[in-house]
Amino acid sequence: MGLKDKYAIVGVGYTPQGKVPARTTLSFHLEACANAIADAGLKPHDVDGLIVYRHFPGPTGERDLTPYLLAQHLGIAPTYAYQDAN
């Protein structure tokens, strides 16, 4: 098939994990994204597609996390943004 070996994964971003108090979901997204971008040797403005993995309902006291919010905080304007709903 035509897609075989046509696309590659080129960077991975980690964050602290476990019980990490006083951190929002948004802050973990931003840290993981920034680390993945740096790991690939890219700049934020290179990213023109943003897929936010399926998420659970917002934790108590936090606003819902959308690709728009994330793009705004990353300072990017993706041509394609998507989020799998619950």
Partner: protein
Amino acid sequence: MSALESGLCRYVLLTYAHSGDSLRRVLDEISGDEAPFGLFGAAGGYALAARRAMHEFHTGPDTWKHIAVGQRQWARLNPRAILRDRPLTLEDYEAAPFLVEPFRLPDNCLVNDGGRACILTSLERARDLKQPPVTIMGLGQHNPSADLYQPGHLTGPTGAQAAFRQALGMAGITRSDIDACQIYDCFTYTVEITLQDYGFFEPGQGAQWFAGGTIEPGGAMPVNTSGGQLAEAYHMGLTPLTEAVMQLMGRCGARQLGPETATKKPEIILCSDNGGVLQTHACCILRRWTP
């Protein structure tokens, strides 16, 4: 990949994160028509399927303990793993309390704060970047039902069987070409039914297949080499996917597949994800790109 294939995008960022109490609310919320009968939450649904599998093909804790212990062995080698400093023996497993019968505590994935992300691009662009490219050889997806209770699917085949067939077809390989697996492991039983549906062993033969350290460091088929969601961290499908990428890039330190862990240096790794309660499935075959 459709965003790349259509030419809309050059670099796609894929991200997951979690904090606070939201996942726990999903897992143990008492809701739905079945709740008055004592069935609720994700653990309840998977436990029901596992209980049925115990009846149909005689699996059970004697199979699952090898998965829990095997993955914990990998976690011991991973500085990021949340349970790195919590060794688990077969005896510890057998002495652990039930969370939802037949699942004991070590059968369940972690509930943790944190995030994970990765970046996809074309192979052409990947060649000029910092890391060695890991290409997507094959993809498959199959969603036979969103409803756990359809008896034809309760104990498999889940969507894994058809999804794997598609992925192998796209990749143009056979199962024996796969060097290691990173399997979505919300529960130990999920690992068993997924590998069973992929055809690594016949229904009910999991206890023999997993026994003796098959999936552990030094084993013939390493599985969930970060510790997985049972012992490293839960980031949905990105726990298995990113670990496969890091292994193929050769960046895994003490847990690196190859001479470091008395395993084969991997060329091809199979990853899975599933959703709903067990039924929906996606899988992905990755390889270390060598021109």
